[in-house]
Symmetry: C2
Subunit: 129 residues, 2 copies
DNA sequence: CATTCAATGTTACTTTTTCTTACATGATTT
DNA sequence: AAATCATGTAAGAAAAAGTAACATTGAATG
């Protein structure tokens, strides 16, 4: 469903439309952008252009505000989300390095065997593992 | 899926966006409207606002033109479509009459059996079928 | 071949929309 | 009370879009 994703991220809506769809004022919408909660594209003439994803985000912001959460709170929520997403993505993108694999195996081994001493069973410095 | 239908018919796009999405000039888009091939909404300020359905329609028109079909031809196609759709809708709204049922059955029978002659197998004038 | 017509381009001028910036205001928070 | 947050409002400039008229081009037709 890559197609749908693309459509939802297409910046095709002017701010006037967004105002109607979200019941937010232009001032509010621009302010939320200033606060980095949305990042609309700009067209050649410097007009803000919004995607369906942006609309969703703005509706969500509106709901958060209605719930009494302030800008800082909302920012925090989105920062959290972004961090988690970035981490998950990073994991999926590049497969584990050798070092990662060694670390995971060692950790696994340790937790299973209960070994935690730097003894003959340690993998430390064992480049051939 | 009434939700989706609604979204697709929401007039949210200004002509500038439509130009980009369809690769048509403003002149072309307005001309097709003049020819009644599309009927965008207008906002309070009299600016044309298009829906996703309108976009589809315009892309289709573009394709027809590319195929060498002229306005008249395209109009005809859409008129046909509209007539068929209206008919189907009318059918769905009020259940079939006895006459309709008889006609449908006869047509079906004819096409299956290959009979087309006015002979002893004909249902013509057989009110009791 | 000259004419006509359909489809589109172009230009001029007006109105609407959007932009930025600055200042104002009513709640909170400190 | 002073500061800060979220939003409103106003001014002036730039961009987008509207209509209307005339221009161009390619295809069909007498």
């Amino acid at each position: 469903m890559k197609e749908k994703e693309l459509r939802r991220s297409l910046a095709v809506l002017p701010i006037g439309t967004v105002m109607k769809l979200t019941n937010l004022s232009a001032r509010q919408i621009r302010y939320y952008e200033e606060q980095q909660l949305v990042t609309p594209k700009r067209n050649e003439g410097n007009r803000r252009m919004y995607s369906l994803n942006d609309i969703d985000r703005l509706l969500e912001i509106r709901d958060f505000l209605d719930e009494g959460i302030n800008m800082a709170g909302i920012k925090h929520i989105y920062d959290d989300e972004a961090r988690k997403k970035a981490q998950k993505k990073a994991q999926l993108e590049k497969p584990l390095t050798d070092t990662d694999v060694r670390k995971i195996l060692r950790d696994e081994f340790m937790s299973v065997s209960g070994l935690a001493r730097d003894d003959e069973f340690s993998f430390k410095h064992n480049k051939n593992f």
